[in-house]
Symmetry: C2
Subunit: 384 residues, 2 copies
Amino acid sequence: MRKVAVVGAGMTPFAEHFALGIKDLLPMAYADAASSVDKGIDKNDLQAAWFGAMGTTDGFPSGILADSLGLPDIPVTRIENSCATGNDAVRNALYGIASGAFDVALVMGADKLRETASKDMLWEWEATSRDMAWDYPLGVVAPAGFALHVSRYLHESPATREHMAMVAVKNHHQGVNNPKARLRFEITMEQALSAPTVVTPFGLYDCAPQSDGAAALILAAEDVVDRYTDRPVWVRGVGLGLDSVMHQHKSDMTTFPATVRAAKQAFTMAGMTPADVDVAEVHDFFTGVELISYEDLGFANRFEGYKLLEAGDTAVGGSMPINPSGGLKSKGHPPGATGVAQCVELFDQLRGTAINQVDGARVGLAHNIGGPTAVAAVTILEGP
Amino acid sequence: MRKVAVVGAGMTPFAEHFALGIKDLLPMAYADAASSVDKGIDKNDLQAAWFGAMGTTDGFPSGILADSLGLPDIPVTRIENSCATGNDAVRNALYGIASGAFDVALVMGADKLRETASKDMLWEWEATSRDMAWDYPLGVVAPAGFALHVSRYLHESPATREHMAMVAVKNHHQGVNNPKARLRFEITMEQALSAPTVVTPFGLYDCAPQSDGAAALILAAEDVVDRYTDRPVWVRGVGLGLDSVMHQHKSDMTTFPATVRAAKQAFTMAGMTPADVDVAEVHDFFTGVELISYEDLGFANRFEGYKLLEAGDTAVGGSMPINPSGGLKSKGHPPGATGVAQCVELFDQLRGTAINQVDGARVGLAHNIGGPTAVAAVTILEGP
């Protein structure tokens, strides 16, 4: 397969962008990505685009991307795969370039959740996250669904709510210096543990904020990569795993098979193991999900994820830094943008220019899990 | 680029499937496709899937496909691109196989419009078809949007409402023998012309029925194709064209630039011209759109599409048969399924087994245009 590199990466701040629409956020993120291309890029170099959008807030996603960026002459595909939407857009763009159909492609992700043109769109957000005949009428929306998993995990593993709080404290700390993050403040263990309950076992600080934002990557085939940069970041592995949609069909609530499948595909493609990863951006829409994902991604043995937190391994400066950007917890979570934005952080990390730089990082991993834990994606990048 | 073939193709009837959900329709279409694979196929041979779904009626599309087909171990990507959704799913699956990532992949398309779990989902159907800040509040829904184009076309070209009626009469006639079509009855010119007005210049018989249904294609790389069949149908060209979302930005209402762009891409990839096409399935959600598309696809000169109808060229038996399946007009239009179902018809045509067989057909073209005429896709297939 022809090799594909990221040659530019950028994003808007993730925030409550009440005054901005998707039409504003897309050009902002693209401009940020284009400005990161070392040797510059002309918009006419783009031959195709993939757009990760979980929702349709402003209207027809593909057309709005083409319109708002002034790109009428290239194909634009909208990808939707719940919270794995952004990573799956990267994955499909990779295939497009690797096939030889295109040399240079744009990947964007964007969503707007903090404001809705109509409350009726709530339907769509719910529908892309669960089964509408069963889970939805029973009230199994995202916090409730993930709470079922994490509650059982806390019951079966030695992990406690304190370990979840350690995830929150770590990610808030790491997000403080990130100008693109929404919640840029430290919290204490006590604040995390005494916060109001959202749904047992999640307190307020166990939950990441839904947000508005966009992110962009510019991908190029190995044949043309040196037109754009001498320090490309290679896409080494992509994986997309599925699992049962309905909770009554999940045989073990303490692990996410979708993540295990996605990781296996991505590591196999990259010819790597979890030990090769130097830095990772891991889905932490709820703190307990980051904890379980340590194990599903192969960074910890089963039911031993908490040990990484106790040892400080997953903080920047530790042996396996997780979410140096601040994660969804601090940055916020516009689902279409999130997977793309994780790759923006890894792009900086693997070129040695990140805000919370992980020393000597050469391999980075991005991970999301979404829907009713029915889909996960893993993207593995390697530095120049 | 590695060559990719269709080795199996099938679909459900398009109908008002009030008693069936997406979970029922997907396995029905897959079973029909699997049964068409000459040497048989095991579900475990499938390595990846692409699912074209414009809407999310039953819930999370990718997960529901994996669940309802019993395919938890393969990646499933949902593609949405308005009425071009099905063709764009084929396009992305092609890249996945051509890249070398997969040898065998499933493409499905499905939608359910004749029943909604909640009226709130109307938002989503509208949002994937237009701009929500401008066209939607102004009432420019699908019939109204296309009516603006066709009205201007009738004003500028010699074509008349009679020519639109000729499209309706032709496609109803061709659908009569198709057991998968929804409207299996003949109509007369007089009936078409005297039908109640939906929106000027469209009478009832100028409009195709929104419907429920699913369709499936099994794609294989050239390296493995002879495991499945000795008469593969090759995917020779794919194209996806965009255009401005809002009608006030369209500089000429009498042509669809999205179609012109998609056709150019697909013909270039195939190394063919419109003269190479023996049979085509062309978007006829409204009769006038089929007429304009004759020109945009290169089958007729500008403003001369009506001549094909007057000469009977686009009827089965003519020199350029269009919509031998009955088209959207007779079959019905579940948008995610439509582009895939057009390829099902072409699969049969190019293997000489279609119901309204076009003698000696070797090259077939499928076309859809959608959203506010802001996206179109063209797929070119070639027989064994």
